[in-house]
Amino acid sequence: MQRDVSGLVRELKKETCPQRVLDEVERRIATKGSSPRRWRFAIPLAIAGLVVVCSLSIWRWQAGENARQQAKLVEQTTLNRARVASQAQDALGLLGSVLANAGADSGRIISDTAVPPLRDSFELAKNKIIHPTEL
């Protein structure tokens, strides 16, 4: 009984793997081995390219932003100057008008309040000089 099983095992042990299987494995490894090597360089290169493109676009965007900010600043300065000039002009105009009004007012006040008593005093003094005995 045991001999029968041993015979069976002996028969099974005679079986070997065909050479074409090993050849096919070698062929597949050879074809497979080349592609990852290619990808191994292609992927980092693609990533590096992407990084460069991103950096360039960010740099360009940043430069554009700076130029835009500078133009805005120049425009703002011009506007500010114009506004200051107009405000100064307005202020000077106002001051002038105030001074003119003040001048006109002061002349009127002098003529209204100071001139009559002065005239009366002057008339009185003149009368004293002309007619000293009447006093």
């Binding site: 009984m1 045991q2 029968d4 099983v5 015979g7 069976l8 095992v9 028969e11 099974l12 042990k13 005679k14 079986e15 070997t16 793997c17 065909p18 074409r20 299987v21 090993l22 096919e24 494995v25 597949r28 490894i29 497979k32």
Partner: protein, 178 residues
């Protein structure tokens, strides 16, 4: 370069064992060849990080998983019928170069295989791994994911059943010849 040399050595040492184990599980030469190829390719991929001391167990474990997966897929699809022309176009068996010798050898091998295939998968795996491929109990337990005692029990049952099957086959052959 070292990897290639190491791989060639391992292929030379283990390819026959893998093929025999796959053939005993799949019961089909072409499928066994495919399985052997697949396992060797996986060995190539895992070789740099492979722990050399459990290599044999890893190889048989991978072979078994692959074969069981193939069996599951095979049962889920209907096997196509071969047309007459396809049968005629099939490549001749490589053992059939010397018909008288090869026929006898091939016949005995096929007979042994047909007897073995009558065993359930777990008993067959244990039997082939121990008797044909020469693995130790511990390695078989690792490959099949079962306790060592179970391996021993399965091996004993497998031997018993095979003895009965071989005897039955012999009796059948004798009565058929008469």
């Amino acid at each position: 370069m070292i990897r290639e040399v190491e791989f060639k050595i391992l292929c030379g040492r283990h390819s026959d064992d893998i093929y025999r184990f796959a053939h005993s599980l799949l019961a089909n030469r072409a499928d066994a060849e495919d399985a052997t190829q697949e396992v060797l390719l996986r060995l190539w991929n895992h070789l740099p990080k492979m722990y050399p001391f459990n290599l044999r167990a890893w190889l048989f474990e991978t072979t078994r998983y692959y074969c069981l997966d193939q069996i599951r897929r095979r049962t889920s699809r209907v096997a196509p019928m071969l047309m007459d022309q396809e049968i005629l176009n099939e490549q001749p068996d490589e053992l059939a170069v010397n018909p008288s010798v090869a026929a006898d050898s091939s016949f005995r091998l096929e007979q042994a295989r047909s007897v073995l295939l009558k065993l359930p998968e777990n008993l067959r795996s244990v039997f082939v791994l121990y008797e044909v491929n020469g693995l130790r109990y511990r390695e078989i337990a690792e490959v099949l994911g079962m306790p060592i005692n179970s391996v021993k029990v399965y091996l004993s049952r497998g031997r018993e059943r095979l003895s009965i099957l071989v005897t039955e086959e012999k009796l059948c052959n004798e009565t058929c010849q008469d």
